[in-house]
Amino acid sequence: MALVYLTCGVIFGVILSRSGAADYNYIQAMFLFTSFQLYGIIGTAVVITAPGIWLIKRYGRTVLGKPIAIELKPQHRGNVAGGVLFGIGWSMCGMCPGPIFVNIGEGKVYAIAALAGALAGAGLFGAIYTRVQGLFRLPRLVVGTGDG
């Protein structure tokens, strides 16, 4: 299965690379309202993905016969606060998390700094989770062995 995920990643990466979704100028143009490209990409993706998810959920099984069970994301105050922080970062870097990896592959040297920052930021959040849990009403941690 790892090869399937790798292949999906490669296709996704090429699309992000060639559509402008991983391009600093296009991200700024989206936020400056001077280009429709990114709105078109995200809008089209949602308009096609939505009925697709509905159909797959209706069918109820994966192509390999396993049950479809979509894990929903929790609702809490962090949705707004974290969203705002991420938006600032997306604007500054001109990259959201996927494009950080794509830009590194393309040879954009500065993207390595963006990745280092993103890992440090995620690490910081994990380290102080229990301290900000009450403030943002974050869910309790379910810690276990998992299957990974």
Binding site: V14, I15, T44, V84, F86, S91
Partner: protein, 167 residues
């Protein structure tokens, strides 16, 4: 507007959006995987940071797919560069160079700072453009709508401030 990458012309937005939708649906239909890239940052952190947050079932059980997917993203970018004119490391940052004009060190500092916001923010919000913006919205999840509106608004305000007020 050409891409920074070799000045290439981008593919049509409808093609890009459709391609993203197909990969998203393929992950769900083949392997019951919910698209989400920023959680992959946790997978990487979980190898080096022994705190409970990174020992969650949700992280450990997803390593086996998120890590190869992320590796694929890097390879996809590499192949795109090779096919589009060759792989050549570059510092080119488009309008940032023209308007803000920081040197290499300044650019790295700016990117690292932005990265901190991305890493902390996406973990606090519980997702990024892919997990909230594409998958969450498509699955009509309210927290994803709230998060998406928040990061779009903050991105607009930040870019407007940076390019229309500060620089």
């Amino acid at each position: 507007m050409p891409l920074i990458l070799h000045g290439l012309t981008p593919i049509h937005w409808a093609v890009g959006g459709a391609g993203i939708a197909i990969v998203t649906l393929a992950l769900l239909f083949i392997a019951n995987r919910r698209l989400g890239i920023s959680t992959g940052l946790e997978d990487v952190c979980s190898f080096v940071l022994p705190v409970p947050y990174f020992a969650r079932d949700a992280v450990r059980s997803a390593r086996q797919w998120r890590l190869p997917f992320i590796a694929g993203l890097v390879i996809g970018g590499f192949l795109s560069a090779v096919a589009g004119g060759g792989f050549a490391p570059t510092w080119d940052l488009g309008m940032f160079d023209r308007v803000i004009g920081f040197g290499h060190a300044g650019k790295l500092a700016w990117m690292f700072a932005g990265g901190l916001f991305i890493g902390f923010g996406t973990r606090l919000a519980g997702g990024c453009t892919s997990g909230h913006g594409i998958f969450g919205l498509s699955n009509f999840e309210f927290p994803s709508l709230v998060s998406t509106l928040s990061f779009m608004a903050a991105g607009m305000v930040t870019t407007q401030l940076v390019y229309r007020v500060i620089f």
